[in-house]
């Protein structure tokens, strides 16, 4: 697999299409699975992890899955970070030890981590609000894998996982939402409280414990035992449209009451991104968030939503260093980031002009 090529493309989940894609960036489901015959990863020896990796790879081959396997052990720190930024592997897999890796689908919407916290972490991710489709895909993938190996499963407790918080279905159903208006009016706190009462977790763009930079929020189930996969998907599918409505209302109120202020904020954000010569990662996320909302509200008309989505990921540290082709210190990264953003925005603007 050519990781350098990743910087010239982007995952399908970023293309900004699919239902409700002005607010729902992507829908994602992951399944935690373990082999019945081995200790869980944290207690397996390197020999056992090698064996687990061999079995999992052979299984994916036998199942005829079009996945490209990448051992994480052979990757340097920058490439590992690139895969984390890309949402293809977790931090845990990146920093873990012993034989481990990830199998990635051609459009980056499938990734199967091997020897993460569980032997297998299967993930499917699609653009927009499309949990039912994602479930169809991942359920089939899970069946195909299961045909060639024995999963650790117990009739009372379901799929057995290294952490009891995942036992049962082993499923994590999540959507990544862009909620700038709710964040701006502080109504987001109310949403969080309501979600916690419903047993749903809220995380930032890069998962547990990270700041919700760029007004991105991932909402997912916490319960995995006692409810079926379909019930858990339905629960989330019922809650998400309500949050989407709140966000739309907040945007309409904002635009109705303070249109000039909002337009000013969006235009200034766009202006800074188009002209800055050095910019930090967090300022970038903050400004891109305003620009993204501006495009969705029709306040900016010469920029594709896909470009904005990509910029959130391509301006992360490892992506920038890969694009630049050399390791960069923070100051150098800020300069490279500003340059990259200017170029991307200029080429998008030009394309828009040519279309007219």
């Amino acid at each position: 697999m050519n990781l350098d090529a990743l910087t010239r493309t982007s995952g399908e989940w970023l293309r900004g299409t699919g239902p409700e894609s002005d607010i729902v960036i992507c829908s994602r489901i992951r399944l935690a699975r373990n082999l019945a015959d081995f200790p869980f990863t944290n207690r397996a020896s390197d020999t056992e992890k090698t064996e687990i990796e061999r079995i999992c790879r052979a299984t994916m081959d036998k199942a005829g899955l079009e996945l490209d396997y990448q051992s994480v052990v052979n990757l340097d720190a920058l490439d590992r970070q690139l895969l984390v930024e890309r949402q293809l592997i977790s931090r845990e897999l990146s920093t873990g030890d012993g034989p481990r890796g990830v199998a990635i689908g051609p459009r980056e919407n499938v990734s199967v981590m091997v020897n993460e916290e569980d032997h297998l972490r299967i993930q499917v991710m699609n653009s927009g609000f499309s949990l039912a489709d994602v479930w169809e895909q991942i359920n089939t993938l899970d069946d195909q894998i299961e045909e060639h190996l024995h999963y650790a499963f117990n009739p009372q407790l379901g799929y057995l996982t290294a952490c009891p918080t995942n036992v049962g279905t082993g499923i994590r159903v999540g959507v990544m939402l862009h909620l700038p208006a709710l964040a701006n009016t502080k109504q987001i706190e109310k949403v969080f409280r309501a979600l916690h009462k419903l047993n749903l977790a809220v995380r930032g763009l890069y998962g547990e414990g990270t700041q919700a930079d760029g007004d991105f929020y991932q909402i997912s189930n916490q319960q995995t035992l006692g409810k079926s996969e379909r019930e858990l998907i339905r629960n989330l599918s019922e809650v998400v449209p309500q949050i989407i409505n709140y966000e739309r209302q907040a945007r309409q109120e904002w635009i109705g009451q303070r249109r000039q202020h909002l337009h000013d904020q969006v235009s200034r954000a766009y202006g800074v991104l188009k002209t800055a010569h050095t910019i930090s990662s967090s300022e970038t996320m903050h400004l891109l968030s305003s620009v993204r909302m501006g495009v969705n509200l029709g306040l900016i008309d010469d920029l594709e939503i896909r470009t904005v989505n990509e910029l959130f990921i391509h301006t992360q540290p490892a992506h920038l260093q890969k694009i630049q082709g050399e390791p960069l210190e923070v100051d150098e990264r800020n300069i490279a980031r500003a340059g990259y953003i200017r170029r991307r925005l200029a080429s998008d603007n030009q394309a828009a002009e040519e279309r007219e």
């Binding site: 869980f40 056992e48 499963f153 019930e231």
Partner: protein
Amino acid sequence: MTCQRCSREASVHLSETVDGQRRDLHLCGPCARKAGLTPPDPPPNAALEAIVDHLIVQHVGELVGELARTACPLCGLKFMDFRTGGRLGCPNDYEAFAPGLLPLLRAAHGASRHVGKIPRKRTPPSRSPRLRLRARLREAIAQEDYELAATIRDQLRQEDADR
């Protein structure tokens, strides 16, 4: 951190969860002893583990004390290690630690029975002969009984080939 009962430095830290509410207790040695939280005469240089076990038995009850020391026969993990590290060691732990795990599962998920997808192929993990063999293999290597280890390895390879 200072003792919650006087101004000395706290050396005993306990936390418990009752009805989902976490309570933390930080006490200095003398106050902890007054509250009955240390063994009456701690043996000099006693292993920390023994003191912890003693504290658990004294304050949470014999069952938990026993449970804390329970080890999975297949992977060797102790229930106590799971409580500290948060990760189980092998599929069999769900059976080995059932009395301690089920209340945790009920608290975390509000349920203790799986509803949902069932794999078409089923091997009850507690009876997984290969996991057993692997446990024996690890034990043989630990005891430097390489002859036995080689026999078990061959057996595992043979089964692999038979599949």
